[in-house]
Amino acid sequence: MELLCLEMDTIIRARPDPNLLCDDRVLQRLLTIEERFLPQYSYFKGVQKDIQPFMRRMVATWMLEVCEEQKCEEEVFPLAMNYLDRFLAVVPTKKCNLQLLGAVCMFLASKLKETRPLTAEKLCIYTDNSIRPQELLEWELVVLGKLKWNLAAVTPNDFIEHIVKRLPLPEDKLALIRKHV
């Protein structure tokens, strides 16, 4: 018997569970829960005076870049965007704080989803040190409070495997299809 400890510095992940993916109740429940986590309405029309749609696009692009460069789990970015939108739907925010908010949202999403989450220090470096770790931690509490600590949002990513499973797709193309969605 192999007695060597073969633990490596890789992250062990569970294989997709067909029992979860084939059960319509799971999909049904995801759809129900999803509604609870959708931002109430278009905040550019009401809550936000300073922030414009193009600014959201800019911060989103930056967040995606950080997530990709840090090789974050795929669900981190959409989850962080969900936090960002939900926060902006209720709190009037200055545009100078938008990147800070984006960083906090990635910070939280990464903590919830990843084995080795992004550190405050790393995130601050990605803002070119325009924010300080201390600010990030203070805003973390603010964001958590405004989101009522409800972090387990359902994101579009959660549906991918369920949909793929229900489509008549050729086995050999599956990896490619997943990549493109």
């Binding site: 029992n19 084939c22 059960d23 799971v26 903590k111 919830l112 973390e140 387990a152």
Partner: protein
């Protein structure tokens, strides 16, 4: 924190200390967990965030009451399990999903009419279904699909009216489907040869209006539990075989060649051999 007064310490784990406390305003007893912030530079520990997520999920979930989720421990205690998403590992692939069907049989009528908001009444309905099944040794409402499930319930309880079920008009699927009107069938006919006290208790659970179903606490005071046969102490219950697998021979029917020519003793079956096969023992 000012909202709570600490009553004592419950336990201590790797990530923090748990206290027993009282919410001053409501008097509700709660557990408070004090989480150690060991790595200050990374803010709220992900452990804590995930624990909160888990607690929210528990709060969300109604337990899925059905016979398959009721276990009797080796000490005779009833345990409610939820194998909602677990599957029996079976070599016959086609049996894997059978539990999905089973869950439907215990689903409260408001859920069948698409209710989004529901309460503990759905569990009380399931309790009624399970109680009836125990009395009858077969499920009360074995619907093959959701529509048929409603039919099964309506056939026994009678088509609901504004009187028997005032809330029905607010349910999402109320207008989507109508059933031929039929009167209720007395439960005595559905669960024959059952003592009147048991029937009376069953009537308390199998009520259309969720609010009118008998609460678990009140049900325990029902005369059924105070009339013969009285409830058994858990130590008196027939319990599952200790130590895992029962002896092999019990799985096969006792093979005995009964013959009138042999002495009587040879023809008497050892009762222990029959336990798995005869429900009367």
């Amino acid at each position: 924190m000012e909202q709570y007064s600490i009553l004592g310490r419950i336990g201590e784990g790797a990530h923090g200390i748990v206290f027993k406390a009282k919410h001053v305003e409501t008097g509700e007893t709660v557990a408070l967990k004090k989480v150690a912030l060991r790595k200050l530079e990374d803010g709220i520990p992900n452990q804590a965030l995930r624990e909160i997520k888990a607690l929210q999920e528990i709060e969300d979930n109604q337990c899925d009451l059905k016979p398959a989720n009721l276990l009797i421990s080796s000490s005779g205690h009833l345990k409610i399990a939820d194998f909602g998403l677990a599957r029996l590992f079976s070599e016959q692939g086609e049996r894997l999903y059978s539990h999905q069907v089973a869950t439907r049989w215990y689903r409260a009528p408001e859920l069948l009419y698409g209710a989004r908001k529901y309460d503990e009444g759905v569990d009380l309905w399931a309790v009624g279904c399970i109680f009836g099944e125990l009395l009858n040794s077969s499920p009360l409402f074995p619907g093959e699909n959701d529509i048929e499930q409603l039919c099964c319930v309506l056939r026994v309880l009678g088509t609901p009216t504004q009187d028997t079920w005032p809330e029905i008009v607010e349910l999402p699927d109320y207008n989507k489907i109508t059933f031929k009107e039929n009167p209720a069938i007395p439960l005595e006919e559905i669960v024959p040869d059952t003592p009147p006290q048991a029937i009376s208790l069953l009537y308390k659970f199998l009520v259309y209006s969720s609010k009118q179903r008998c609460s678990a606490r009140r049900a325990l005071l029902h005369p059924y539990f105070f009339s013969s046969p009285l409830p058994a102490h858990h130590s008196e219950l027939p319990i599952p075989h200790l130590g895992g697998h029962p002896p092999r021979q019990r799985l096969q029917p006792p093979s005995l060649d009964l013959s009138v020519d042999l002495p009587l003793q040879n023809n008497v079956v050892d009762p222990t051999l029959l336990q798995g096969h005869a429900t009367c023992l």
